[in-house]
């Protein structure tokens, strides 16, 4: 059956665009309950992918780039779903490009990317075009120019938002290919993860603002 997850997909709530969301439409617990309907192998692949490329990695983040490369290569050997593999590769490419932009911004030379050469097909290409602001990759990744500008202006918030947008759009396209298949399920999970990260980011801002207000009140009294 080409669309094995009709019931599962229909049991998932609508996810609004993350910037417009005021609250998460589903808790992690409830999402996990719904995901029990996944085939065992699909569930395993999704868990591996989540640990590797979700916005908020559920496992402990690797300490070094080399460790990250090793982990991603090991995980990719066990992931057979083509759409999921493609998405993971896209996310790793995205992270590698951002790493390159950051390294260059910090004044490093092209050799800084050496430890992650095996992570992405673009590392050698980026090394060869190190001096170009966008590594001559804008035709494939149009967001690089904007990311470069945000990094230059130290606007980490806008950069995060841009990256979330890029992933969100990618996941939207993946869902269009198979609305009731595994693609729709994993796209939902990764979108939900982004939405959670966005909401948590707002929560952090609110907490900081709240603490500032407390300080202000204390100073007044």
């Amino acid at each position: 059956m080409a669309e094995p997850y009709i019931m599962l997909v229909s049991s998932l709530p609508y996810l609004p665009p993350f910037e417009q969301a005021e609250r998460s439409p589903i808790t992690r617990l409830r999402l996990e309950q719904r995901l029990h309907n996944l085939d065992t192998d699909d569930a395993r692949q999704l868990a591996e992918a989540e640990a590797l490329v979700s916005w908020r990695m559920s496992l402990a983040k690797p300490k070094t780039d080399a460790e990250m490369v090793l982990r991603s290569r090991a995980a990719m050997q066990h992931i057979s779903q083509p759409a999921l593999r493609e998405f993971i590769e896209f996310r790793i490419d995205q992270q590698v490009i951002l790493a390159g932009l950051r390294q260059r911004n910090a004044g490093a030379d092209a050799s800084a990317l050496e430890p992650i050469t095996a992570a992405s097909r673009w590392v050698r290409y980026m090394t060869a075009h190190w001096e170009d602001p966008t590594f001559k990759l804008t035709a494939i990744y149009p967001w690089i120019a904007q990311a470069h500008r945000y990094l230059d202006s130290n606007n980490a918030g806008a950069l995060d938002s841009l990256m979330m947008h890029v992933i969100w759009q990618r996941l939207g396209r993946i869902t269009e290919n198979n609305r009731f298949g595994f693609e729709a399920v994993f796209a939902f999970v990764f979108k939900w993860d982004i939405l959670q990260a966005w909401l948590a980011r707002d929560a952090a801002q609110a907490k900081s603002r709240f603490q500032d207000l407390i300080k202000e009140i204390k100073n007044d009294s």
Partner: protein, 148 residues
Amino acid sequence: MDSLILILGWVGLYAPLALGAIGSMIGCVRAGSAACGALLEVESGYGRYIGVAAMPSSQTIYGIVVTMALRRELTLENSPGIFGLGLLAGLALLFGAIAQGDSCAASINVSKSKLDIFGISLAPAALVEGFCVFAFVFALVLAAGIPK
């Protein structure tokens, strides 16, 4: 050779009902699965979703009527006509029911979070139903021209 022609006649006679029923089963399972999933997400209006999930069952009814219209003593003269008409009508009903099941599943999936689009989201399923009705009506019209 004569036996083969008569066998084809029997195949054509039962094809609209059998293929229509197979299509309805697949269509209802797809739409029904979507309805079951949606029931977990909505607080009310359960009957609406289950009702939509039953839409692809109409093709079985059309199949019954076409089979009844084709029913006659099978001869070497009428068997080829019954085979062609019955098989093609059955295939139209089979694919129509599956397509309608998918349309209904999509409609249920989108309308669970936005109830006001429930009616309009059923338009594709209604269009598919229209095509099935065309296949059904013209099968009846042409069946009248097959020798008794």
